[in-house]
């Protein structure tokens, strides 16, 4: 088994708000992230796939295909977007880094042909990242 990781960057805005909470609860739990005008991050995405090395090509995965899938499924949908307002998953879920990693996993998993998805890592800043390994 060989693991391959491809990185990408995207920039997006978001805010944290749960309509089931009171305004006071939202402010207490989410702090400055509750500002409804949103704020932004430069996210770094790392997608790790795993598989056996194809003896013909020497590849675990065709990187060009992986890059195209990441662009189509993630970057085109999320880069320079307001996640709460423009990405359907976040009409109902809070766009935390945790939920972002899960949403990206779900967007990618069924689209991969050769290799299997191993890990989605999303850096919100260089000092904060979330790993999702799929449902256990």
């Amino acid at each position: 088994m060989v693991y391959l990781t491809r990185k990408a960057e995207f920039s997006a805005s978001h805010y944290y708000h749960n309509p089931a909470f009171t305004p006071e609860e939202n402010r207490r739990i989410f702090g400055k992230c509750n500002n409804p005008n949103g704020h932004g991050h430069n996210y770094t995405l790392e997608v790790t796939v795993k598989g056996e090395v194809d003896p013909q090509s020497g590849f675990v995965v065709d990187l060009k295909q992986l890059k195209e899938i990441m662009h189509r499924e993630v970057l085109d949908a999320m880069d320079h977007r307001f996640l709460n307002k423009e990405v359907p998953e976040f009409f109902t879920q809070i766009p935390t880094t945790e939920n972002l990693a899960i949403a990206i996993w779900q967007r990618l998993e069924s689209k991969l042909q050769q290799a299997r998805l191993h890990r989605v890592r999303v850096y919100e800043t260089p000092d904060l990242f979330v790993d999702f390994f799929g449902e256990e």
Partner: protein, 140 residues
């Protein structure tokens, strides 16, 4: 759904690597420049990884305010701008980054209840990094 969250922190400390069990020659042979009796310092980067189910109400594994508050209070304020050799936990243990990783893991494991502790990583320099993920038995 379970996710892993990693947060990075920074602190700067000094230390000297010296074992009372070794002769002066053995200390020098083992620790080299790190055995300098005056000590020396590093800018450490600490990584703390916690895991748990993502709370559907908040979208979080744990609130970063809680994790940052705990690490700041219990770890950074203890080690930042200190000489590690002067601290109680390094009276009998050499303050290598291996031992520091174990100490910080145990501080978190004892006191941080808001998520499951997965691992602690410390970069001593850009070239050296260490990880500790615990053992079944607490260290004696």
């Amino acid at each position: 759904m379970k996710a892993h969250l990693t947060r990075r922190y920074r602190f700067s400390s000094s230390h000297r690597l010296h074992s009372a069990d070794l002769s002066p020659e053995e200390n020098l042979a083992t620790y080299g420049k790190c055995n300098n009796p005056h000590g020396h310092g590093h800018n450490y980067t600490l990584e703390v990884t916690v895991s748990g189910p993502v709370d559907p109400a908040t979208g979080m594994v744990c609130n970063l305010v809680d994790l940052d508050g705990f690490v700041d209070r219990e770890v950074l304020s203890r080690y930042h701008l200190e000489n590690l050799n002067t601290l109680q936990e390094f009276t009998h243990h050499v303050p290598t980054t291996e031992n520091l990783s174990v100490e910080i893991f145990e501080i978190l494991q004892r006191g941080f209840q808001k998520a499951h502790l997965e691992r602690v990583g410390i970069e001593e320099t850009m070239m050296n990094s260490f990880e500790y993920a615990g053992t079944a038995e607490p260290r004696k």
